[in-house]
């Protein structure tokens, strides 16, 4: 079979460019410009899928994304599940297959590239049909920044499937002239193959552009396959057209049964005849065009069944002229056929809402039209109110959006003249007088249509056969009636009971029909029932398209310290801390992590070691209110800090729980610099800003994140003084001149630095702060000056061990959001003098007064070779009782101490400080291990080493 259902001429396909493809294992050919659906139909292939529940054969029911039926899987070039054949542009080498309502994913990663673009405009026009083109042109001529998006491969919308005439010329000539003019305007962005799929507040809309699939093998593999356009528009013109609505009748799902206008589209746009002998079943005038055009193209129209008692003379004449038998007051009551419709039953509607004896006619194509549903999806997503229009049996926009309007068929204005006028006037209304002046009037022969009948379901449907409401979900009228019989009164409940509208098409053809059938069953109005909510996306969007470039290493920004490359070349292992990569430890050739950490610890305790602590959050605080702000944020007093000095501080939440800690140094009277933990840098700044802006706007303070601006290098160990002295010969580094918790300005390697005497290890230490630009020079200088002393770089693991040996907690590791400063044994950091600070009022709460609060203590395993698991729970008994077991707390940190030659842990334990010396137990693999509760400080309890 090769395109035996292709007309000899006509259509928008390029007959010079044949394409080969495979479907269900059979090779076929089509033309450039085809969709998979049109190419299959051109080859006479109607039976393309099977239904999910009953395995019934299914075909192409519509020429657009509203098709509930023609579901396919792409197999090559790369598997993609569940697409409508009508929305897949044909390309050479396409391999696809029909689906039983369920697709499959590739077993390999998708090699394609996806991205996103932000765009801003005055006017966003969705849909390049007559209304949309008219709006875009009006906007362009008024000099506005216009974006026009349309889902098809070319502009024209419904005009592509019709024979309309504008200003005496074929409408497509008008389309061509408009797009050519739009191309001339530099401020117009015109995207075809771009489907607007989401509409949000404040003129925000999303469109998905398909950029390469249609090129097949000719596509550049590095080009972006799909692009998400994030468009912020001052005004939105929704010109999305309408979806033809089916009528439900028995066996309405066979391949060869199709919406009338879709068959017309296949004819005019693709040069495809959807059958040889057709019946039209309609409730309205619009569908006659399909029957007449197909007849004129050589299809035998066996009969037209119109549910209305009367039709206009014009249509009667049209039928007579073509020899078409017109049955008014008739409906289609059923069909027959094997893999495709073979015969159609036509019956009269009787007065008592029943159907009479059916007459069976042979046909391989049944065109159906139950009227039109405006495509109000985007309008409704943007929270536009809908109203039910009795005349057309559909929901239409009841209002304008704050920043937009639905126009043309999307607004329920189905005539071509209406569409052209609507589009232009929406643009004019949005853009003002210049645009109004740009509005062009057109000559269009709009036929006055007779009123449509509203018919949801042919009487008696489903009583003897299956009458499908949602073809994809295999849901029938009987299912809807059963739901109503079960007591369901809401369309949302019926949807859930029947699963109608949950398929790939999201009920584009079944939604309103379902409401209609329920309304009839309950004897209420459709308006009262409403319709289920329209939600984004309008059409399915691939996960990868939305993920865009934010995958792999770009999932989250990677932040690197100034010494990262240096550490890398020295074989450091890294850990993720927030977005940062931090050197974890520096193993030497063949050295284990434990070995490396022990060596690094010894260097810090016995000689000198240095690390990159640049990830510490840093906030610059300036202004007359700086001291006051810090007093309110920290639990201790900061305003009394003298210039030149540093102070440790703790921050709590309003609930009195510790949220962060760090040091504050005073640089000048109204100028402080504080550090935060690495992970909390952003949240601390945010919290401070929130207090400042919402609660204390009277304080004149500016907060600036300077985390990246400053590199921070602690130089640690008994020999650190000698290293600093060598680096800064004219600085008196003696303890008297440069005491603990003070800072000095200095210069290293010709670079200004600030050196702070603080210690997170208990050892004598100097923290060198330097502008990140010059950090490596200073780092190298430190390494050089330390070489005679065997200076050793260390990572975060050693930092953790060193601080744990001193009992210094890490916020977020040794605390969770339930620990107060008092629980941490830091009552000294809570000011008794200050009138107020964040968290203060909570310290007086009942719960905070309890004696048995969890407190930070040390735990020494009684077998010093046992390393307790971090996260291990602490219990009272040597035997594990039946659950639930009373838990006293848990192990927060646990290490080998190279210095002490034993293992040790920090833990939070109920009433812990009263338990010093007690034996408690930590279950390990179900066996409680005895531990002795100890002071938090394992090493240098007297604090003698701090000053060297």
């Amino acid at each position: 079979m090769t395109n035996s259902f292709r007309t000899s001429t006509g259509g928008r396909v390029n007959r010079e460019l044949p394409l080969s493809f495979q479907f269900d294992g059979t090779p076929y050919s089509g033309y450039a410009g085809d969709t998979l659906a049109s190419a299959l139909l051109a080859n006479g292939k109607h039976d393309i899928a099977s239904s999910i529940k009953f395995g019934r054969p299914r075909g192409v029911f519509a020429a657009g994304p509203e098709d509930p039926s023609g579901v396919i899987q792409i197999e090559e070039p790369f598997p993609e599940p569940m697409l409508m054949a009508s929305t897949v542009e044909l390309y050479d080498g396409l391999v696809a297959s029909g689906l039983p309502g369920q697709g499959w994913l590739a077993d390999r990663p998708d090699p394609a590239r996806y991205d996103a673009v932000h765009h801003h405009c005055d006017l966003l026009v969705v849909g390049a049909g007559p209304a949309g083109l008219s709006a875009a042109l009006t906007g362009a001529r008024a000099g506005a920044r216009v974006v026009l998006v349309d889902s098809l491969s070319e502009a024209g919308g419904s005009l592509l499937g019709s024979t309309e005439v504008i200003d005496g010329r074929p409408a497509l000539e008008w389309v061509e002239s408009v797009t050519a003019e739009l191309d001339e305007h530099p401020d117009v962005l015109h995207l075809q193959r771009a489907t607007a799929f989401g509409c949000y507040d404040d003129g925000f809309a999303l469109a998905l552009e398909n950029r390469t699939d249609h090129l097949g093998g000719a596509a550049d593999p590095d080009d972006t396959r799909q692009r998400v356009w994030r468009i912020r528009a001052q005004y939105l013109v929704i010109a999305t057209g309408a979806h033809e609505r089916p009528v439900v009748f028995n066996d309405n799902d066979r391949p060869g049964i199709m919406l009338a206008a879709s068959a017309r589209t296949f004819l005019h746009r693709f040069g495809v005849l959807a059958g040889g002998r057709a019946v039209l079943f309609t409730t309205n005038d619009s569908a006659y065009a399909a029957a007449f055009d197909l007849s004129d193209a050589g299809v035998t129209i066996v009969a037209v069944a119109d549910s209305r008692a009367q039709v206009s003379e014009r249509l009667q004449d049209g039928c007579v002229r073509r020899g078409i038998a017109l049955h008014t007051g008739h409906v289609v009551s059923g069909t027959d056929g094997d893999r495709r419709v073979e015969s159609v039953d036509i019956a009269a509607l009787t007065g008592d809402n029943e159907v009479g004896q059916a007459e069976r006619v042979a046909a391989d194509l049944l065109l159906v039209s139950g009227g039109w549903n405006p495509a109000v999806h985007l309008f409704s997503q943007a929270r536009g109110r809908l109203r039910y229009d009795d005349g057309i049996g559909a929901f239409v926009p009841a209002e304008d959006l704050e920043q937009g309007r639905a126009v043309g068929a999307a607004a329920g204005h189905f005539g071509l003249a209406d569409a052209l006028r609507d589009g232009a006037s929406a643009a004019a209304a949005a853009l003002g007088p210049t645009a109004t002046a740009a509005v062009t009037e057109h000559q269009v022969d709009d036929l006055v249509e007779a009123p449509s009948a509203v018919l949801w379901s042919v009487p008696g449907s489903g009583e003897t056969g299956m009458a499908f409401v949602d073809l994809q979900r295999d849901a029938t009228t009987q299912d809807v009636l059963r739901a109503v019989g079960a007591g369901l009164r809401s369309v949302e409940h019926v949807k859930r009971y029947t699963t109608i509208g949950t398929g790939l098409d999201q009920g584009k053809t079944s939604g309103v029909v379902t409401s209609g059938i329920i309304a009839d069953a309950l004897g209420v109005g459709v308006a009262e029932l409403g319709v289920t909510t329209y939600r984004p996306p309008y059409t399915p969007v691939a996960f990868a398209a939305l993920a865009g470039r934010n995958r792999g290493q770009l999932l989250d920004p990677v932040r690197l310290t100034p010494t990262h490359v240096w550490a890398l070349t020295r074989g450091a292992e890294f850990e993720n801390v927030g977005q940062w990569k931090r050197a974890w430890y520096f193993p030497r050739e063949g050295e284990s992590m434990d070995g490396a950490v022990a060596r690094e610890c010894r260097a810090a305790r016995e000689g000198v070691a240095f690390m990159d602590g640049s990830t510490l959050g840093k906030i610059d605080v300036q202004g007359p209110g700086a001291g006051e702000l810090l007093d309110r944020i920290y639990t201790n007093m900061m305003s009394t800090l003298k210039v030149g000095r540093a102070r440790y501080g703790v921050m709590c939440g309003a609930d009195g729980m510790v949220v962060d800690d760090g040091t504050v140094i005073r640089l000048a009277d109204e100028h402080f610099l504080l550090t935060t933990t690495t992970g909390n840098a952003a949240s601390v700044l945010e919290t401070m800003e929130e207090w400042l802006q919402t609660e204390w706007p009277e304080l004149r303070v500016h907060l600036t994140s300077v985390t990246e601006h400053w590199a921070t290098f602690p130089v640690v160990g008994p020999k650190s003084r000698e290293v600093i002295a060598a680096l800064v010969p004219d600085l008196d580094v003696s303890n008297d001149a440069f005491g603990f918790m003070t800072w000095r300005d200095a210069e290293i390697a010709g670079v200004p630095v600030r050196i702070v005497r603080i210690s997170f290890s208990g050892e004598l230490a100097y923290e060198v702060n330097v502008s990140a630009w010059h950090a490596m020079a200073v780092w190298r200088a430190i390494a050089e000056a330390g070489r005679p002393h065997g200076i050793t770089p260390y990572g975060t693991e050693t930092m953790h061990v060193l601080r744990a040996e001193k009992g210094f907690p890490i916020i977020g590791q040794d605390t969770d959001a339930t620990m107060t400063p008092q629980d941490l044994g830091m009552s000294w950091v809570v000011s008794k003098k200050k009138e107020d600070f964040v968290g203060k009022r909570s310290f007086t709460r009942l719960e905070n007064q309890r004696e048995d609060r969890k407190q930070l203590v040390g735990l020494l395993p009684q077998d010093p070779s046992v390393l307790l698991p971090e996260g291990g729970q602490v219990i009272e008994t040597a035997d594990l009782p039946e659950a639930p077991v009373r838990m006293l707390g848990h192990v927060t940190s646990s290490y080998h101490s190279a210095t002490s030659g034993c293992t040790f842990a920090l833990a939070v334990v109920r009433g812990g400080r009263d338990r010093l010396g007690e034996t408690l137990y930590v279950p390990m693999n179900g066996t409680p291990v005895p531990v002795t509760v100890s002071d938090t400080v394992l090493y240098d309890k007297e604090g003698a080493r701090r000053d060297g």
Binding site: D110, A486, G503, V541, A547, Q553, A817, P869
Partner: protein, 414 residues
């Protein structure tokens, strides 16, 4: 592998609903108990009031359609692997009820105990995870810590490569956890409650709470006043508004929380995977759709819709963890409103108004608690005092400081 009922054709084998679900009565002038909010919690409370306490002169008032709020919008994950004793008490009580619920309700709720993996991506995640597993085990809750290879064995489609931005370092695993079909659960409760005499009244918005001498006596509704002996508030997503009608201030922030589904796909995902660091949680529903959610939108509001960038971030996370999802499609997104307390634990119990009871603040985790809180809240209402499982979840803990902080410590998205 875990138990996973994989129908030969997903979507085809969903069990049918019964021919009759519930009556649609008009409200009576007076009830012994009025439950405000016909979501999962309200319906479950009504059911247990009738079943466990013989209290059947009960109305459930729903302003929209039954179970149309968060009950219809959640991602149906059920687990009990919470950190603190108080939480594990009520969630494990709930999980045990889930295990017998299909039989109890005589409704095919499709409770599938396919296990939940909570992934760890940083060393601190690992510490928190191990801590939670140990606590769970000592509380008698099934939980284990498994390494990345173990994750791969349970869920082969998870990317455990060390070369990704945040490699999977391991996971906690609760085998008894899983998913259920939310509508089926709600309708199961509704049907049995209606059957036992509870009036389920839809399109009935409560607009005021009548209090005389510190005692509740009824409610004002869009369908007129209704007298009540007791009133129980179950209006998730609108709890502050309801409580305010009784002059009660509750420490809640209401945020949108979005979720989405894909098309129906052949079975690829045998379990439930949740990740906080690479923020997404995913399961494959019985019908075959991928169902997923992520974080809340940060702003407050009652509009049941979220911001699109949240969905985009969620997709990045999904494709990062599950590369084969790349060409699955988003079919539908939606949002519910979650009422979040300062400690991410609920408020269930008595109020300062006599005979007025409050159940709220479940944040993102209310679905899994449905049977548990339904039974405990019914007990609370019936006896006028809290059930031991909800005793810790008082409103006054925000005054005393006896918080049950689940977000700081648990490192788990609800």
């Amino acid at each position: 592998m875990t138990d996973m009922d994989q129908p030969s054709t997903p979507g085809a084998d969903l069990p049918d609903h019964p021919d009759f679900l519930w009556r649609n009565p008009d409200p009576k002038p007076s009830y012994d108990v009025i439950i405000v909010g016909g979501g999962g919690h309200g319906l479950a409370t009504a059911y247990y009031l009738a079943k466990n306490h013989g209290i059947t002169n009960v109305a459930v008032l729903e302003k929209g359609w039954l179970a149309g709020g968060n009950m219809a919008r959640n991602t149906t994950i059920i687990r009990s692997n919470y950190l603190w004793d108080e939480s594990s008490g009520i969630y494990e009580h709930s999980l045990k009820l889930w295990e017998g619920l299909a039989e109890d309700l005589d409704y095919p709720i499709l409770f599938s105990q396919r296990g939940v993996l909570n992934l760890a991506h940083t060393l601190q995640d690992v510490r928190d995870s191990v801590r939670r597993v140990n606590a769970n085990n000592l509380n008698g809750i099934d939980a284990e810590w498994i390494d990345a290879q173990g994750v791969k064995e349970l869920c082969p489609i998870v990317n455990i490569s060390p070369d990704v931005r945040y490699p999977v370092l391991g996971a906690t695993y609760q085998p008894r956890a899983g998913i259920a079909k939310h509508d089926y659960v709600a309708w199961g409760y509704a049907r049995r409650a209606s059957d036992m005499g509870v009036d389920l009244i839809q399109d009935c918005e409560v607009q005021g709470i009548d209090i005389v001498n510190g005692r509740v006596v009824g409610v004002q509704t869009s369908r007129g006043p209704i007298r009540a002996g007791k009133v129980a508030l179950c209006g998730a997503g609108h709890s502050s508004v309801l409580a305010d009608m009784a002059g009660i201030r509750v420490p809640l922030q209401s945020h949108p929380l979005q979720a989405l589904v894909s098309e129906i796909l052949q079975p690829v995902h045998p379990t439930v995977v949740m990740s906080n660091a690479v923020h997404v949680y995913v399961s494959q529903a019985h019908k075959g759709e991928l169902v997923m959610g992520a974080g809340i939108d940060s702003y407050n509001g009652y509009g049941q819709r979220g911001s699109f960038h949240i969905i985009e971030d969620q997709m990045s996370a999904a494709v990062e963890l599950f590369p084969i999802f790349a060409r699955a499609h988003v079919l539908r997104t939606w949002a519910g409103i979650v009422d979040v307390t300062p400690d991410a634990s609920p408020i269930v119990g008595l109020t300062e108004v006599e005979d007025l009871y409050l159940n709220c603040g479940w944040g993102t985790g209310g679905f899994k608690a449905t049977p548990g809180v339904g039974s405990c809240f019914a007990h609370t209402v019936a006896h006028g005092r809290p059930h031991p499982y909800n005793e810790p979840f008082t409103l006054d803990r925000f005054t005393t400081g006896a918080l049950v902080d689940e977000h700081g410590a648990a490192a788990v998205a609800h």
